[in-house]
Amino acid sequence: MSWNWEVFCKSTLDENFSPVCFGTGGETTYLDWIMSAWGWTLSVSALGLLIAMVLGILMGALRTLPPDNFVTRLLATISNVWVELFRNIPVLVQVFLWYHVVPALIPVLKGLPSFILVSLALGFFTSSRIAEQVRAGIGALPRGQRFAAMAMGLTTFQSYRYVILPMALRIVIPPLTSESMNIIKNSSVAFAVSVAELTLFAMQAQEETSRGIEIYLGVTALYVVSALTVNRIMALIESKTRVPGFIVSASSGGH
């Protein structure tokens, strides 16, 4: 078996090879294509992660509301149903639901590009996992934090906004890191609805060039690089937001 990395310098339309590997004068090479595919993967993941963080933190917080009255119990139930619903349906099925079913049921969404729909699917799917982590993080806080907030006369919303969530979110940074890496991996299901991301590139370029191993190696390397970059960014966030002397790790427990 022999390597042929020049395949990335080849034009996608004819048999020409670009000397600089990037296409010149309106031509696209496979290198151009894989870079744009990488951009799609990162965009879908970033938008999905944004949706997942907002919804996940909201739902995770709702699940920990004290069952004082009807409204808080209702909100906690809604978030429970939310988590069970989006956790127990495979992500690919959810992508199909967003792409084929939801626009038919809600006509407003009909014109949306599949890129947005896939981001929504990934975001909702991941939000259920983030909600679980956030709930666990809030549960890991000493109960005194909540009582202290109440004693200060803060409303429930204020105590979440200023006391509980700022501490809980710091605790859950490690699991959020792995969810952020997961969403990049899960974004590969976007191939099924023809978003031009890395996996779709891998399938199409493999067929066109028959240099599957080189193409797949390139795509795999980009996935690994993306995941490692996210990992480093989250580690940076974790060290920047650390509260001195308070949190070592959620799992290592007290003394």
């Binding site: 127990n88 495979p90 690919l92 639901l97 084929h100 079913v101 891998a202 399938m203």
Partner: protein, 221 residues
């Protein structure tokens, strides 16, 4: 739009969905059993403390865990024919892929399971004059399995959900069955909804079972 469920009947389910469901089930069962078997071997390698074992096992597990499953499925489908020297169907390729991929995840579960056993158990086994293999087989692994049953089952639910990804190589699983039915009857919305409902009830039901089991199986420490 209107929802029409009139085309759902036994004939349609038998023709399109059943074989796909059976393949999903087969993939889940074989993937779980094979994954636990090879995952345990990998875990023993990672815990052996000998570099010739820990480095390759660690590299394999970390690699599998950092690549999307869809890409792993595509990789195996591409490479299997040249490794085996003959063409291989999408279904067979999917089964091999799932054993290889899931063993990396089961390895990490079994590793923490084995590590949850107090060291005194190992010393006790050694003091009884057991060999390494006897000690693992008779003392450590049974306890590790028992402690990890809820986590292993949760991973099995994830695995069952992941079986839908064999879509990438066109293997005929349950999702594919629903999709083909939707195309043939011109009713994609109803079939995707039905697929979602069925996946939901299977996974939700299983996760309830795991919760009950979790309360029953006390962790031995």
């Amino acid at each position: 739009m209107n929802i029409d469920l009139s085309f759902y009947n036994l004939e349609m389910i038998r023709q399109y969905v059943l074989s796909g469901f059976l393949f999903s089930l087969q993939l889940t069962v074989i993937g779980t059993i094979g994954g636990i078997f090879f995952g345990t071997l990998l875990a023993l390698m990672r815990l052996s403390g000998k570099r010739t074992f820990t480095i390759p096992a660690g590299a394999y597990v970390n690699m599998m865990r950092s690549i999307p499953l869809v890409m792993v499925i595509l990789w195996f489908f591409l490479l299997m024919p040249s490794i085996l020297g003959r063409p291989i169907g999408a279904e067979a390729s999917a089964i091999i892929t799932f054993i290889a991929f899931e063993s990396a995840f089961f390895c990490e579960i079994m590793r923490s399971g084995i590590q949850s056993i107090p060291r005194g158990q190992i010393y006790a086994g050694q003091a009884m004059g057991m060999t390494y293999a006897q000690n693992m087989r008779l003392v450590i692994l049974p306890q590790a399995f028992r402690n990890m049953i809820p986590v292993l089952l949760t991973q099995t639910i994830v695995l069952f959900q992941d079986t839908s990804l064999v879509y990438a190589i066109g293997a005929y699983d349950m999702l594919k069955g629903f999709e083909v039915a939707g195309k043939n009857y011109g009713r994609p919305i109803e079939t995707y909804l039905a697929a979602a409902v069925i996946y939901f009830f299977i996974c939700f039901g299983l996760s309830r079972l795991v919760k009950i089991l979790q309360q029953r199986v006390a962790i031995i420490r």
